[in-house]
Amino acid sequence: MRESIIMKIHYGTALGAVALVAVHILMRLSQNFSDSLSYKNVLVNYHLLPYALMLEVILVLLSVHGFNGLRVILLELKQGRSYERAINYGSIAAMAVLIAYGSRTILMAGMGVS
């Protein structure tokens, strides 16, 4: 994939994440902040489908943005064809693993499995 496309995704995911994380933080402020973090209230978030979907989207946006950022840092740190290939595939794999693990958590909590 061309670097400009990757970077457009990078900037897009950053903007999306900032907007949705802002919503997420504002939701904490809709009630007493410490209450919003109580076990019961956290679970309520997962049971509410639109909110659970928003958490899933945040997870994808942050994983893509974060691991691409890490890829860029590592590419600047050291160069070499096999090293770069390892970094590129490694970051895609790490992205996929994190999204899969996070989605599993969202799904299980949503279904009431703890």
Partner: protein, 260 residues
Amino acid sequence: MATVEVPKEEKDAHAASAPQQSEPKTITLRIARINPSEQHEPKFEEFKIPVQKWTTVLEAILFVKQNLDHSVAVRYSCRQASCGSCGMKINGKPRLACYTKISELDSPVITVEPMNNFPIIRDLAVDFKQMFATHKRMKPFVINEESEVKPGTKEFVQKPEDLEKFLQFSYCIKCGLCNSACPTMSTDKSFIGPQGLAQAYRYTADNRDKGKNERLKIVDESHGIWRCHFAGSCSYVCPKGVDPAMAIQLLRGYLLGFGK
């Protein structure tokens, strides 16, 4: 023989208005000496140099070569900030030695070192091979099939506002100071660098040029334009008033679909 006596008041007035002969000052010039085939770290040698207020760093180095140690390696040619040969780190900042006066540094000790981010040949002379190769890779010429020199063709029209878009970038003398100051270049040896990217912009922004897609493809790689962090050090050190950091952002704009 008749002599004309200058009246005393006139004599005094002349003496007062005559330019003052400034006393040469003495400064210490510390020169980094390194031969990469024998050592990894430079040794510094100190020389006491008489300087006038107009003495440049290059002149001070040449004074050392002429009178104290002829083995100091330094590259220079035009002595007037035109050829781009004499870039070096002067008191920690990349500058042209022929364009930097000792007096403007305001320090009794002047330290000269080879530029960062370039392989060292010896002492103050660095290797420009990679920078020139990168410059060439950017296709630094107007790409246009309709040559203006063929019979029957007219010269290309270029309005002042067209020229304005790239004029400052055409002042680049390929001295490499910007590459030397660039923090990305210090870790990413494959990075195109501000010099090459500014030149890619210079030709892409030229209204006579039709090579936009070719050049954008070259800079749009994993060690290309996106690795710039916009530190701006390149523009800060450029002796010719080129703003490579801005060229990079404008070129990015083309890649993101704005402009041209």
